[in-house]
Amino acid sequence: MANYEPILLRNRGVEGSRTLGVYELRGGYQAVRKALKMTPEEVVEEVKKANLRGRGGAGFPAGMKWSFLPKDRKTTYLCVNGDESEPPTFSNRVLMEHDPHQLIEGVIIAAYAVQAQVAYIYLRVEFHEPFHVLQRAVDEAYAKGYLGRKVFGSDFNVEVYLHRGAGAYVCGEETGLIESLEGKRGWPRIKPPFPAIEGLFRKPTIVNNVETLCNVPHIIERGAAWFTSVGPSHSTGPKLFCISGPVNKPGCYEWSMDLSVQELIEDPRFGGGMRDGKKVKCVLPGGISMGALCASELHMKMDFEDPRKFGLLGLGTAAAVVLDESIDIRIVLRNLARFYAMESCGQCTQCREGTSWMHKIADRIARGAGRLEDLDLILQTARNMGMMPGLSICGLPDGATYPIETVVKKFRGELEERIRAQPREEVGQTLAVVN
């Protein structure tokens, strides 16, 4: 592994990194000045050339998304997705807490590129500190004339508002976020029309993740060629990786996407190895929705392509949770199943019922009352919901399918062994399905 100089996290740990003064001293707000001298089309073209793939989970190219906007539009909205609710992801939190002005600069450039007059930054309500830090930074930017009317002395106007959510995972889905912004329950919309055509308040809307927009100033400043030179050809640009669980140094780290899961866990620059020298049992490398790896698959690269070869849905949020050999796989299965049962918005029947069934089955297995045929039943339930078989409006149930399917398939031996060893064993405690 070559050396790598942090870009997105370059201000982390610098004293006063939250303030406009320090950010600007360290080279901030230069990219936006450059962008405002270009035409909006040139900015879109540059981001398109950089092939900046969305960092929120789906990996859709941001520049392409921007170019879907109708040419004759009058009002455009930009929504920044800071709902970050996918366990165990916390990279947006780190970005907003340590370098709020980097995000604001990205927002101004993106708003200029898509000609949005209003940008809403949607934050989950549990983000109290990031909210206050970011709101302070927005205030500073307004006071300096970097936001509002005629930003940086140009003819471009943009208002940036923070909008706080109220606790719902599904509001991280782009149309769910839009519905929530409109003051409704966060039920995702049927697509098409895609938000770029008809989104917030039925106007063309672009929804981008916090990390995606934090990349934009650097693309403008250093050029698309620099961006495509970082990392492997199919997955370019700087990326934040989160690691949590029983490792020595859990945290958020930045690297190019040529990192393997093994390196993320073992390298002293990242996870720093397992606590107490324990062995890895299972890793969920891309946020739980992407699926699980077993101990023999740790050579997987954390990029946009490799995860599919291991039966995972994709790179996701690149947030790995490592589980060691001391954890009972039944507990893991129940935890994963419960998450989706709790967070399913209830709009599509297959997802609402399916996730609850999976939780009930997983809970029964975890309580030591499972049956061998439960494993096939949970697999069957998992496969029969979601967008891929065409049974749901959003991707939440697909995100529920992959972890359940991969855990059951890759750890079937242990699960069967545990089930056969019943009923002497009693594990954990029951959690009610409904609060």
């Binding site: 455009t76 366990p87 992801t89 205030d139 307004y142 719902a168 893991v332």
Partner: protein
């Protein structure tokens, strides 16, 4: 959040009850009007304002919010019932939110949850007898690098051990963070015109997109 059982034989609150939203609270809500193209979009900010001021969002509060936002009370209730953050019944002064994501559970989160429940003698969504704490769990608090974590009020408590819980809960300032507050977000009343036009401030501010949109939609 919770199912609201209603006694259909009598109204949820007396028809002649004096309004519970004070003028200050209403003014705070109106502050958000110019930020959004529709009144309904002000609902989430309004509910935050009301819950911060009154502790919870009662049926009467929902009705009064609906009136202010020119929508039907059932639309308010529809939104309130969807989100876990809003309480429709009185809660304690501080809310403890325990995380039970996979990272927290793998590092002993369940023991922390049990310790809190035992120490306070509360169940999920319950409130202590003295009205200090309410307790709930959530699926992930995005603090996995500090697992297991516990959110009390605004403060995230990191790497909590079950044995630390009594000390943690005895600390009076355990729900506050030192972050400086912004006066643009939630203290509109005393605010004069900022140098660059007040962002989102009151009806007089000339906001660019949103205001023209409101006009457009009303005319349509």
């Amino acid at each position: 959040m919770a199912w609201i059982p209603l006694d259909r034989n009598k109204p949820a609150f007396p028809k002649d009850a004096p309004p519970i939203l004070t003028e200050a609270v209403r003014e705070k809500i109106r502050f958000f009007f110019s930020r959004y193209a529709t009144r309904r979009a002000v609902l989430l900010p309004a509910l935050h304002v009301v819950q911060d001021a009154l502790g919870h969002v009662s049926m009467q509060a929902m009705t009064e919010i609906a009136e202010l936002l020119e929508i039907h009370p059932s639309e308010v209730m529809d939104t309130v019932s969807f989100y876990t953050h809003f309480w429709t019944h009185p809660k304690g002064k501080k809310v403890i939110v325990a995380c039970r994501s996979i990272s927290c559970e793998a590092l002993g989160g369940q023991k922390v949850i049990d310790a809190v429940k035992q120490h306070l003698h509360v169940r999920e969504h319950g409130t202590t007898a003295d009205g200090t704490y309410s307790f709930m769990t959530e699926e992930c608090l995005a603090g996995c690098d500090h697992a297991p974590c516990l959110l009390i009020g605004e403060r995230m408590h990191k790497q909590v051990k079950p044995e630390d819980v009594p000390k943690l809960l005895a600390d009076a300032g355990n729900d506050r963070i030192a972050a400086p507050r912004s006066d643009l977000f939630d203290a509109p009343a005393a605010k004069g015109g900022a140098s660059n036009g007040r962002p989102g401030g009151g009806s007089s501010a000339e906001t660019v997109g949103a205001t023209s949109d409101i006009r457009e939609m009303r005319e349509a």
